[in-house]
């Protein structure tokens, strides 16, 4: 078992024992990473903060369900993503989302990503429409398939594909214009 996982187990046991120091330590350890996740799923910083806060309350409530199998961080991440999706599902089923015209043209300029700063990309991602943003996150960053995304969001697979395509295009344009 890796060292960080061992440390996590101690933290989790402390939290299950309601040790306030462990509870705080767990928060301090994972909040920056979880906040970055909330941030890229949220439409603004206020919503990101809400998602982080509510997500952590869920984490402490559900901690007893963690089976000590697999990565704890992965387990946490799923809680935060699922929590964000609960918010998003309502927005994403708006009919106008499906109505996307085909646009096969990708931006001709290749972006030099290594020069970009993560927070600036995040800021651009937040500006995307909710559907684009969510599908980009789930498909590109989290690596879910269109089939899985369709199930998670209650949309069709082809909608997921169109949203990704359109979203990727828009994000490229935004990044080209802003960097």
């Amino acid at each position: 078992m890796s060292q960080p996982e061992e440390r996590n187990i101690l933290l989790i046991k402390g939290c299950l024992a309601q040790n306030p120091k462990s509870q705080k330590a767990l928060f301090d350890t994972f909040a920056p990473t979880m906040y970055a996740i909330c941030y890229r799923y949220a439409k603004n910083s206020d919503q990101a903060k809400d998602l982080l806060q509510e997500g952590f309350i869920k984490v402490y409530t559900k901690l007893g369900e963690f089976k000590f199998e697999g990565s704890f961080e992965g387990w946490l991440k799923r809680i935060f993503i699922n929590h964000a999706l609960e918010y998003i599902r309502k927005e994403i089923r708006q009919p106008d989302m499906v109505n996307v015209e085909d646009s096969h043209e990708l931006s001709s300029t290749t972006i030099q990503f290594h020069e970009l700063d993560t927070q600036k990309i995040m800021a651009q991602i937040q500006k995307l429409p909710t559907g684009y943003r969510t599908v980009i996150n789930l498909f590109i960053i989290e690596g879910y398939s269109h089939k899985e995304i369709a199930e998670m969001l209650g949309i069709s697979e082809s909608t997921s594909k169109t949203q990704l395509h359109k979203g990727r295009h828009m994000l490229q344009k935004m990044l080209n214009n802003n960097f």
Binding site: Q18, P20, K24, T61, H104, I111, Q119
Partner: protein, 284 residues
């Protein structure tokens, strides 16, 4: 195909930039989270050399006064030493990990004006014993025969690390716990029996944990619970303690939105004890 290559490069770079990234956490989040998780349940903390342990649930009922601010007292039953604690104690869910040494129960809560006194009794033999408050005097029960000599709340006695004085081979006798609500003296209006604190966060998502909000109460002769949304609209009402609220608005049949709710609870026990209270409830 060049187009696909662009896409792949773009995706890979985006993923590389964002996956596992971190951002500075905004101020105030921990405070909000901490207060939310701290208030829902019962606990172990160290205060002035004393270790408070844990309230175990008994037959599914958390026998505890909730967390709160107020005057806390610990009474060692064999010596009648009283330790007054005037800082808040976080009361949390019990923990099997620390369920060893002495056991402390918030047995009774008394209220006068704006002061709440919660009385904990700590027994070196690890037997859980309930005490009356110092003002309840005359009436005795088998578990509170030390009470007559219990000092007033203002007489602060010696804080002493009780953990070390514990006889480890002694067992907790859970049967002793079942009595407090019955024993609450009828003649003592300011003494309240131990009342279980319901969790104040609940998540009706079907995962079997905190899915349905209910109040655990025993020996009641009257029970009335109402839950209101933050706009003041009534979403739930029952006179049956076995009914729990699953987050559905009883008037519309729709699932209520997440957020803060308040509940109003009115109950009367067979002992004649009556209580009316209002508390927050978070629906997640």
């Amino acid at each position: 195909m060049e187009n696909n290559q662009h896409i792949n490069t773009f995706d890979a770079m985006l993923k590389q930039s964002l996956e596992g990234s971190q951002m500075p956490v905004p101020a105030g989040v921990w405070e909000a989270v901490g207060s939310s998780i701290g208030t829902k349940a019962i606990v172990a903390t160290k205060i002035a050399g004393l270790k408070l342990l844990i309230l175990k649930t008994l037959a599914g009922i958390v026998l505890a006064g909730g967390a709160g601010f107020g005057i806390y007292e610990l009474v060692k039953t064999n010596t009648n030493e009283t330790v007054k604690i005037d800082q808040p104690i976080i009361v949390n869910q019990s923990s099997p990990l620390e369920m060893a040494i002495d056991t402390v129960f918030p047995a009774q809560i008394s209220e006068s004006d704006n002061t709440v006194t919660r009385k904990f009794v700590l027994n070196e033999d690890s037997m859980i014993t309930y005490s009356k408050t110092e003002t309840s005097g005359a009436k005795e029960s088998e578990n509170s025969n030390f009470d007559n000599n219990v000092p007033k709340a203002t007489e602060v006695a010696v804080p002493k690390p009780l953990i070390e004085t514990k006889a480890p081979e002694k067992q907790v006798e859970p049967n002793k716990v079942a009595e407090p609500t019955k024993e609450a003296p009828k003649t003592e209006p300011i003494v309240t029996p131990a009342f279980p604190e319901p969790p104040n966060v609940f998540t009706p998502d079907g995962d079997g944990i905190n899915d349905c909000f209910k109040i655990e109460v025993e020996n009641e002769k009257m029970f009335f619970l109402q839950i209101f949304s933050s706009e003041g609209k009534k979403v739930f009402e029952t006179t049956d303690k076995n009914n729990c609220w699953n987050g559905v608005n009883m008037n519309t049949g729709e699932l209520c939105k997440k957020g803060l709710y308040t509940y109003k609870l009115l109950y009367e026990l067979n002992t004649g004890f009556k209580k009316k209270e209002s508390r927050w409830l978070t629906l997640l």
